[in-house]
């Protein structure tokens, strides 16, 4: 049983965190929020981050990695913009990211290395420094716990709803909080971080432990979702821990496991929100692979199914085309005997021993038409398993992405 309970809250709920957001003019043709600041008031704060595995990493990703290392995990602020990814922008892009951290650090009275940056939006178009640096003074002046709630909307691009979550636990008479926001929608693929997410907590945790736990939590959440198989240049998950709850956590101990459980739960909730808001998505699909020889095999099969355009369009159309599921498993690279495979939709058997299970077409159609589906594939080869969350592939995905840039 989880000690964590879901509460109304935002990034400013954990003790010591402040935030603010504004419209800086980076998003064209709109007055939507596009620049946000998250700040931790505790000088003892620790921070950790996981970033895209894409070789083509955006300027803010490169700089944030450097700053986390240079500050030895003592980052205390994140400046994030939406509307422009600041990726593939060469020297101009690096300068924008550097200027952002320089100006923010000066205003906040911390070192440059304690400021991290993140960006999301169109690739390949430089941002004018001034748009960001001229907005920073008022962002800093207006910092408050309540305004931290605005960060959620300021990081949205094609997202159709804001994604935030807060958890609370009482430990030894004290209260600890975890809060997070995320943005996603497209370019979502389960390799490392895969989107933007920022997490605050008032737990007391050392830098190395925080990094380890963040890695473990993202592996079990953000790395287990897929919208379209594309790994972004900007994927970033950053956590800052103020320590102000006074409750300390150590990995490998029972209370360390409790923190990891809460962090994983928070990340999973945010990750599943991203899938639910997948570009054009109408259905939320859980893919469970069981009976694999190895975890790697289970994972390969789950990912091949989650990324197959044929499986995803069949789900969009409510078509119980289990053959495509088995076919995707077949080219996944995993080893198994096709004649042993079972496939279920929401508990209804579609395929047994690699062949048609003799299901009723209307029953299957009814399951496939639901907004939430669980596809379960049992390979009957061993005991390893894997779960992945994905969505269907619809006309709207094409519409959104055919003219994203222009």
């Amino acid at each position: 049983m989880s000690i964590w309970e879901k509460i109304e809250g935002h990034l400013g709920t954990p003790a010591g965190f402040f935030g603010n957001a504004t419209h800086a003019g980076i998003k064209k043709n709109s007055d939507a929020l596009d620049l946000a600041l998250i700040y931790c008031a505790s000088a003892a704060a620790t921070a950790a981050g996981v970033f895209t595995t894409n070789l083509v990493a955006a300027a803010p990703v490169i700089l944030s990695r450097q700053h986390l290392q240079a500050s030895r995990g003592r980052a205390r602020a994140v400046v994030v913009n939406s509307g422009n990814a600041n990726a593939c922008t060469g020297r101009a892009g690096r300068k924008t990211a550097e200027e952002t951290t320089r100006v923010a650090a000066k205003l906040l009275g911390i070192s440059r290395e304690q400021v991290l940056v993140a960006s999301t939006g169109v690739i390949g178009v430089p941002i004018k420094d001034a748009l960001i640096t001229h907005s920073l003074p008022s962002l800093v002046t207006g910092l408050s716990r309540e305004k931290a709630a605005d960060v959620t909307r300021a990081i949205m691009t094609t997202d159709t709803f804001p994604k935030a979550c807060a958890l609370r636990a009482r430990i030894g008479g004290r209260t600890v909080h975890l809060a997070g926001v995320a943005k996603g929608a497209g370019m979502i693929h389960p390799r490392l971080a895969t989107m933007l997410s920022f997490i605050t907590t008032d737990a007391l945790i050392g830098v190395r432990d925080l990094q380890k736990m963040l890695k473990a939590a993202t592996d079990a959440s953000f790395n287990r979702i897929s919208v379209d198989g594309d790994t972004s240049t900007n994927d970033t998950v950053i956590i800052m821990a103020s320590g102000l709850s006074g409750v300390s956590f150590t990995p490998g101990t029972p209370n360390g496991r409790q923190f990891l459980a809460g962090l994983t739960e928070l990340c999973r909730i945010l990750a599943q929100m991203i899938v639910r808001d997948g570009e054009g998505a109408k259905k939320f699909v859980t893919i469970e692979v069981a009976g694999a020889r190895t975890e790697r095999d289970a994972d390969c099969v789950a990912r091949a199914i989650a990324n197959s355009p044929l499986v995803k369009t069949a789900i969009a159309g409510g078509d119980p085309n289990w053959g495509r599921i088995l076919c995707a498993a077949g080219y996944s690279g995993a080893r198994f005997d096709p004649s042993k495979v079972e496939i279920y939709i929401n508990g209804l058997a579609l395929c047994r021993k690699g062949s048609d299970a003799g299901f009723d077409e209307a029953d299957a159609k009814e399951q496939f038409d639901k907004p939430q589906l669980t596809l379960r594939v049992n390979l009957h080869q061993g005991k390893a398993q894997a779960t992945l969350w994905t969505c269907d592939l619809t006309h709207e995905y094409i519409t959104i992405n055919a003219s994203y840039r222009t």
Copy 2:
């Protein structure tokens, strides 16, 4: 200069080949051709095949592999049906494939192992044997050179046009022919054969040489196209050589190279037809990657770009979103320095040194709106290169695949 000239012709054009096709009732709700027979009259014929790499191989793929081995490459007939893939059909499916070869062999007076089978269509639904076996007698009776032209249409499923090609060369006063048909449209991914294709030739070639040359030709053609990244359970390319032209070819000699060049040309023409007819495709895209460190790197980058839904939808929308191209290269697994990359569309520079090349938006849009595009990516790391052919991802792909089965 190629010695091969393109001619009007079909599978019956090379000496010694006969064909026929009929509506056997496998395609429901239509009277379209759905069963075909290709037969080689020469007892000295040689044959070779390449098949899907999918672990979940359809019954006809498994049986054809066995028969090619058992007959030591002496196959002389192919029975192919459309409308049902006979994949994931268990024992019933194996029986259908076996019965087909047994009955056809008896009618043709050859051994069972000399008959190959191929199927395409819906997965997971058994075919009634009788539909095929009852149609075989009239198919055999009606065999003719002219009727071989009908095979082209009999193998179509979601294809919108028939795909056939014939080549002729004069060598030492003699005439040699190569003819081929193919079907494709969806579930097309560059891993081994990737669709159905049948090739006839009256060249005189040993079994091992034929197998080697077919492998080399498909690697440079059918394995270099991608529609949606899905590898089918049924991919099959079969070639039969009657030898009746009297012109013999040996690999590694100048004339062997001439045959390989012709076979590769034929396969490329058919492969490109498949891409042009990709499900919902409106644009034909050539992806050229140059300046890679290794061929593997060049190939990885080309395939990542070709399979990226974001790149493919941007092309569909005529959006010069070169950032998505660089992004796909970045997660391809290839090693390169992003700050050296150049990207061109039909010769117009979009990206230089990993950043915006300062192109005119209207110029770029004009190129992206063309029905044929060449995307050229130069990594500036070495001398290796790779070319791939693909298509855009449109609303129609979703429409076709959302309700393929039902």
